[in-house]
Amino acid sequence: MALDKTGIAKRAAQELQDGYYVNLGIGIPTLLANYIPEGMDVILQSENGLLGIGEFPEKGKADPDLINAGKQTVTAIQGASFFDSALSFAMIRGGHINLTVLGAFEVSENGDIASWKIPGKLVKGMGGAMDLVASAKNIIVTTTHTDRNGKSKLKKACTLPLTGVSCVKKIITDLAVVSVTDKGFKLLERAPGVSVEEIKHATEGNLIVEGNIPEMNL
């Protein structure tokens, strides 16, 4: 069975390591914060100027001066810091962020990502996504494997305007975990009960399948 958003977030959370500074994008990536393994120190950065994002505030305690990059009210953990946008992107551009997790409309088999614009239809802007994908050490995309019309989001080449080139390292979808290699997508894991054939069928780009592909351990 294909995973739901929570399942994707749970699997993506397994990519976290102790001591990591992590930037989570809007949507599924934000859910990762709920599945940080017990005892692991992971500091979440919000590019609007917060290092150490905490839980959502209690009812009635939301502070208009304390939001995340998705403009949602949040809290700050003990040991957090606030700073301006230039310093925030010094953290990002300077390579101090260990991992970026973000969503995408499309990813190509060479690691290009399109996530910010659908010409003629939707213009929201790139926000910090272009800066993040150009500079983070490790970039993971979480997304559904196909779009609403069943078309593959894992493409030979992106058709939508790019956010960054040759930058995505790994893709975690509702069907599979796939790494980006010189020769295309490499299948690493299957969602529980999903066959290699189903994944192949849902992947437009070249999918390398070597040996026995294990199921995700959730």
Binding site: S46, E47, N48, G49, L50, E55, F56, P57, E58, K59, G60, K61, A62, D63, P64, D65, L66, I67, G70, K71, Q72, T73, V74, A76, F82, F83, D84, S85, A86, S88, F89, I92, R93, D112, G120, L122, V123, K124, G125, M126, G127, G128, A129, M130, D131, A134, S135, P161, L162, T163, G164, V165
Partner: protein, 229 residues
């Protein structure tokens, strides 16, 4: 040297049609509410606005947008604003979308006297169109230019009569850099205190960058997405 003005009306003296403005804030957090309302009231037109976002339909910069006071927006993210999307797609509004970190650095550079610099963000995308590309350490970079403005309009939690500013939590965002990049910088603050009351160790923006300062009134401080546990 007197930097203290009475209110937004006095603060924007000399602000004219066709000027370039920087407006602080991220989303609706840390926006100069009083000055934005005054700009909407006097109906100054053909403005170029540099601001990370464009407000929402009925608040912040969104009001100026609705009343067609803006000729051009330089921003990184403009979602959550239908009127913006409409004016953009119809071509009424000239829009320059800039990656957020590049936007922040362009403002910082402008204020710091750095005319141009290279960044990797946007390489290989439509943002790179027409820009000089150069390789450093095996990685491709784009040449980006510093930004300045006729007026930079920022909002802080505390300020003093010398123009020193302290921001609150994530309401700092673009305000700190923008304060450095205005030919004239207006700071509106929630609390204007006498000189000597702010701890010099805690100042975010030193007063040298601020020409006019006033204590704002009736802050709404709207929340765009109130999320709770």
């Amino acid at each position: 040297m007197n930097k203290v003005v009475k209110n937004a009306t006095e603060a924007i003296i000399g602000l004219k049609d066709g000027m370039t403005l920087m407006i602080g804030g991220f989303g609706l957090s840390g926006i100069p509410e009083n000055t934005l309302k005054e700009l909407a009231r006097i109906k100054v037109k053909n403005l170029t606005c540099i601001s990370n976002n464009a407000g929402v339909d009925d608040f912040g910069l969104g009001v100026l947008l609705r009343d067609k006071q803006l000729k051009k927006m330089i921003a990184s993210y403009v979602g959550e604003n239908k009127e913006f999307e409409r004016q953009f797609l119809s071509g009424e509004l000239d829009v320059d979308l800039v990656p957020q970190g590049t936007l922040a650095e362009r403002i910082r550079a402008g204020g710091a006297g750095i005319p141009a610099f290279y960044v990797p963000a946007g390489y290989g995308t439509e943002v790179a169109k027409g820009k000089e590309v150069r390789e450093f350490n095996g990685k491709m970079h784009l040449l980006e230019y510093g930004l300045t403005a006729d007026f930079a309009i920022v909002k802080a939690k505390y300020g003093d009569a010398s123009g020193n500013l302290i921001f609150n939590n994530t309401a700092n965002n673009f305000n700190n850099m923008m304060a450095t990049a205005g030919k004239i910088t207006i700071a509106e603050v929630e609390e204007l205190v006498p000189v000597g009351e702010l701890n010099p160790n805690h100042i975010h923006t030193p007063g040298i960058f601020v020409q006019r300062i006033f204590q704002g009134v009736n802050y709404e401080k709207r929340i765009e997405f109130e999320t709770t546990r």
